[in-house]
């Protein structure tokens, strides 16, 4: 059987989720006609390397017990440069100011002809054109379903399932934290501050919720969609962004009495990218509750196609990464 060697660069919530999923889905992957062998894992301070294939169980245990993935001190970038493998699973933190280490990791991998599967939005929201071009030049594959809405199919839905359609516009709910806060404010008739606190307690919102509640995270996802689907050369600076911080419980009640809910909606249409709170009819497919994400694609042949699912979470995001890996190497 064909053996694909992989590295996992970044071993936090998503990286560890990938390791768990690979352990759990070994047989399913083999049924697709290949064997995936993780030869290196790196976090910010350490690395584990074994050319014969790492015992992921052991790496997970080591990370849990002493905060390190292994004994080596190679950086993620050095792993990509020096360890022979075919695919880099890039799950380092999103940095939308510079692209962060993720940008270097991805470019270096492509230059070496390696494929990249990632959940890291930063590099794509800033430098999609350069990344896609470098991948193309080096005959490398680039897959990033997990960057837009976690487990919710969006990129691959458009690339494969409705291939051949012209896409007219895309709109959706692309941030689970905003959606949770707005849903709960409506249910409890509570203030934004109260429901932000609740979602922080539940681990849905981060300690610094700025990226989510100000609409920046959704803006990055919209940019990725706009660049991939419409060939735009946008960065997240091109997005017209309004967040949810000034939404009041009274506004939600007023909307409700007109038959609407308020959702943080992102939209790409006619070359414009924007995200802001919008009125959505209560029974509309975009009116999903809780932390769910949803994306609605308007096409010429299929009409409107809507996909919904969990936008974040360790295993959910790993699911999107797994499906990307399978889509590259499957032979069934």
């Amino acid at each position: 059987m064909k053996i694909i060697r992989a590295s996992i660069i970044g071993f936090g919530s998503v990286g560890q989720g990938v390791a768990q999923v690979l352990l759990q889905k070994k047989e399913e992957i083999q049924k697709k006609g290949f064997d995936l062998k993780v030869v290196a894992v790196a976090d910010s301070r350490s690395a584990a390397i074994d050319e014969k294939g790492l015992d992921l169980e052991k790496v997970l245990k080591s990370k849990k017990e002493n905060g390190r993935v292994g004994p080596e001190t190679l950086s993620g970038l050095e792993v990509i440069r020096n360890v022979e493998h075919e695919v880099v699973i890039e799950t380092t933190p999103t940095d939308i100011e510079t692209g962060g280490v993720g940008l270097d990791n991805m470019l270096t991998a492509f230059e070496k002809g390696m494929d990249v599967v990632t959940s890291n939005k930063g590099p794509l929201a800033l430098k999609y054109g350069e990344l896609a071009e470098t991948a193309r030049k080096n005959n490398a594959k680039f897959r990033f379903e997990a960057t837009v809405g976690g487990a919710m199919p969006a990129i691959n839905l458009i690339r494969d399932t409705i291939a051949g359609n012209s896409i007219i516009s895309i709109e959706g709910v692309l941030n689970g934290t905003c959606n949770y806060i707005l849903t709960r404010m409506m249910e409890e008739h509570a203030s934004y501050e109260q429901m932000l606190a609740e979602s922080q307690e539940l681990g849905i919102a981060e300690t610094d919720p700025t990226y989510d509640v100000e609409g920046i995270d959704a803006a990055c996802k919209l940019v990725i969609l706009a660049n991939y689907v419409f060939g735009m050369k946008a960065t997240y600076h091109d997005v017209d962004v309004k967040g949810i911080t000034s939404i009041t419980p009274e506004a939600l009640s007023l909307a409700q009495s007109e038959g609407y809910v308020i959702k943080q909606i992102g939209e790409v249409k006619d070359g414009c990218i924007q995200t802001s709170p919008r009125l959505v009819p209560e029974s509309h497919p975009l009116a999903v509750g809780g932390t769910l994400n949803v994306v609605s694609v308007q096409t010429d042949l299929a009409g409107t196609v809507t996909s919904t699912g969990r936008g974040a979470g360790s295993i959910e995001t790993a699911s999107a990464i797994l499906s990307d890996i399978i889509s590259i190497y499957r032979e069934d």
Partner: protein, 168 residues
């Protein structure tokens, strides 16, 4: 604007065409015709109900042409503001001159604020309002909402408008 009209046709061939040509000539857009073939008015004519959209400026000319063609007109109803949309405003709505905000739409001549509900939980905290806007057409409704957004921007108010699908 949308016009609904009751007309009466003589019971001879070609009459319906005499009624419809003036409307299409003046760029009216026919929405429906109800033709009561078996019915007769006391005058022996055939009653027909028409609904069409036309530029307000052209309505008088359409009526003149119909009369010239010998068509009887028993009722004309104009509904000028046919599109309706709701928006939510959030911010210091009252302190920033709510009348002026409403006027910015009413002044257009093609759209009006027909209903407003205001919710002010406390003095000095932000208030929320829902506005119902009516306009002569879908394009004008969009136009009115973007005027409102411009005014709101200057007054630091947030406008929450319906998603696009709502309008198509």
């Amino acid at each position: 604007m949308r016009v609904s009209m009751d007309i009466e046709l003589k019971d001879t061939p070609g009459q319906l065409l005499c009624a419809l040509t003036p409307i299409s000539e003046l760029r009216g857009n026919l929405k429906s015709i109800v033709h009561h073939h078996e019915e007769r008015t006391p005058r022996g004519t055939i009653p027909v109900q028409l609904v069409f959209e036309a530029e307000p400026d052209n309505l008088d000319a359409i009526i003149d042409k119909l009369k010239k063609n010998g068509i009887g007109i028993s009722r004309v109803d104009e509904k000028r503001l046919i599109e309706e949309g709701a928006v939510i405003l959030i911010g210091h709505i009252v302190h920033t001159d709510i009348q002026d905000t409403i006027d910015s739409i009413d002044r257009t001549g093609y759209a009006e604020v027909v209903d407003i509900s205001l919710s002010m939980p406390h003095i000095n905290t932000t208030s929320s309002a829902s506005l119902k806007i009516c306009a002569v057409g879908i394009k004008e409704l969009h136009e009115a909402i973007s005027i409102l957004k411009n005014v709101a921007k200057k007054k630091d108010l947030l406008v929450v408008e319906p998603i696009r699908a709502e309008f198509s």
